[in-house]
Assembly symmetry: C3
Homo-oligomer: 272 residues x 3
């Protein structure tokens, strides 16, 4: 599965257009480069359609609630060009504005993939929010016990919204309406840096930009690559007795040094 997906990225070096928040925008640009893509973070409404036209995928991050009209312009253009469009519904459930923004975006744009933490995905599923800030609520956490019902929720959402659903956490879920990948890579320290979620979404955009005909597997690969890099980065951080910022460095470093062999050696993925 991974071989052709990686090869397509190397061959096409996809340009990934991101309209994203200003907190983690630098990390997102760097992880796209590390993953083999070329980032463009243009968000002015007078140029986003042109920029998207020359890109291979579009990443919309709701952390930037100031640029909704740009997101809609870029999203509609991407849809018309059949570019993959990846949504990160950052903080949905945390404010009425975020909930309305999601509705506004989803009424105008067809998303190829929606990636969020479990609280964000539940906020979409329930049509109401239980998110605290931008981090997942502890009581929503995906465990082996509630995994089956969470997968069912993801499948139903995918059927209803027509998007692949990616849920990030200690257990990652990537699902369309029929097929689901369960990925058990990554480390809890990933929640101790800002931007892990945003970066994961940006990497999905990179993988999908080069694999338009295989969005489900491209998304699963991106999520697994992120998790495996988290595993490697934590070990390296321990060797040098570092903390969360050294972890972030090694996380993106590991993406930039990723090979098929490292993936195959580290991946813990299950298809159900």
């Amino acid at each position: 599965m991974f071989e052709s997906i990686f090869q397509n990225i190397r061959n096409s070096k996809p340009i990934v257009h991101c309209i994203t928040n200003f907190v983690t925008v630098n990390d997102c640009a760097n992880i796209i480069l590390a993953g083999g893509g070329s980032p463009t973070m243009a968000h002015h409404k007078d140029e986003v359609e042109e920029i998207t036209q020359n890109s291979q995928s579009l990443v919309l991050n709701m952390g930037n609630v100031h640029e909704v009209s740009s997101m809609i312009l870029a999203g509609e253009k991407s849809n018309s060009l059949k570019h993959p469009v990846v949504l990160d519904p950052v903080g949905i459930g945390a404010s009425k504005l975020r909930n309305e923004t999601f509705i506004n975006l989803s009424e105008n744009i067809k998303f190829s993939v929606i990636r969020g933490n479990i609280s964000e995905i539940k906020a979409i599923a329930n049509g109401k929010g239980i998110t605290k800030g931008v981090d997942a609520n502890e009581k929503d956490k995906v465990t082996e016990e509630n995994l089956k019902e969470t997968v069912e929720m993801a499948k139903m959402m995918s059927k209803k919204l027509g998007s692949i659903i990616a849920i990030s956490g200690s257990i990652d879920i990537v699902s369309d309406k029929e097929k689901t990948y369960i990925i058990r890579n990554g480390h809890p320290i990933m929640a101790k840096i800002t931007g892990t979620g945003c970066m994961s979404t940006a990497l999905i955009g990179t993988f999908c930009g080069a694999n338009k005909d295989n969005i489900l597997e491209a998304t699963a690969c991106a999520v697994a690559t992120m998790g495996i890099s988290g595993d490697i980065a934590f070990k390296k951080m321990k060797i040098f007795e570092g903390g969360t910022m050294m972890f972030r460095m090694f996380l993106i470093d590991s993406i930039s040094n990723m090979t098929l062999d490292i993936i195959n050696g580290g991946i813990n993925i299950e298809e159900i």
Copy 2:
């Protein structure tokens, strides 16, 4: 003093709402996480009241002079909820706009803590600016010789403004109208990276968010934690023969690895 303050952060994991500048926003979010809090950097005027309502403290950073109306909405809401509100008057004295912004904010919001470098604090005290850019002016520097008069100035400001005054520099001062902590930790290299001040303010917001009934000591602890981390980070940087960016990494790393033992072993604090 430190034990209960740290324990309260670990127990409550405070959500810290920051309306801050786009230069150092990523560093601020990461230091809040490293310090044991959960950051939310929402700044759209249509959601800041809701976001603040679900947070435990508010950090306002005047480096973002575009979002003053959002700051006032969030500040008024925080005041009504008795959340700690921490102000960083970045660049006050450097332009009329900054001076007017400070007046505008202080007429509408009661600040629990105001933290700045000595030039910024003097600009407030004098009602006129002598700041050059965003860095402290060399001739304003706090020394052992002018320490006593600087402490008196801080006490008077605290009495007048009803806020704790925190002055950052080679000697740090944290004072209310009666009691003052003098902290002699940290390293001059802290002035060679952008964001040390902003990060210090964000960390104060984290410590205060979990210690609402003890703002003075929480602020002193945050300032000391920052200084001790600077000491550790400089030593680590030297081992690896790095420069300013490695220093920044180890600065936040040291916050993320901080323990009560490290604090007690490294702190140089005096109460007067």
Copy 3:
């Protein structure tokens, strides 16, 4: 050549005013500090003239197409004060908005230096764009084969625009209408992190701010310093088996640790 340029930076510690994009703004501020300057990133139209007045140079980065009116206010003020003004035409050629923004800026501001990748510089030379995203187009690449004609293009542009032209790539070119420096330092990995170009421009602003009477050599020095730091950073990254983020850290670290001896030992510069 380098000795006096470096000495002037150490002596004057120039304040560098940047109006720049939010993707790489933190890196730009940090490289200015590492290079010996003091950054101020103020971009509100109501304060940029005052801020520029108290600065020694101005850096305008077209990645921020939202702040063109602020750029013009600051640029006109800088011109009137004879401060060096450095333009980074990020993404020119990628959209009509960028092309119009360049025209708008160049009709109102006299630039001391314009620094871009070869695709951006060609877009200016040709009056039409061939840029893909923000990275240089592979087919535009400067090689030993097309070096002579590229230098001629730079000289002609310099004559026409009255600005020094700096072209970044595997071979760097810094030229006025008569004299050209060819610099063969740096490493291809510099294209694998975001912000190398923006940082290079910010460093040029720092060097020029302290060397107003010698802009050509100051620009060449800044470009060479960037390249030599890239060489050093790549070697260090290899020692620690890191990736692109460790490279970025060591890149800015090397600027912060730069000495005249390191420069003289590493530089590969040719004057034609």
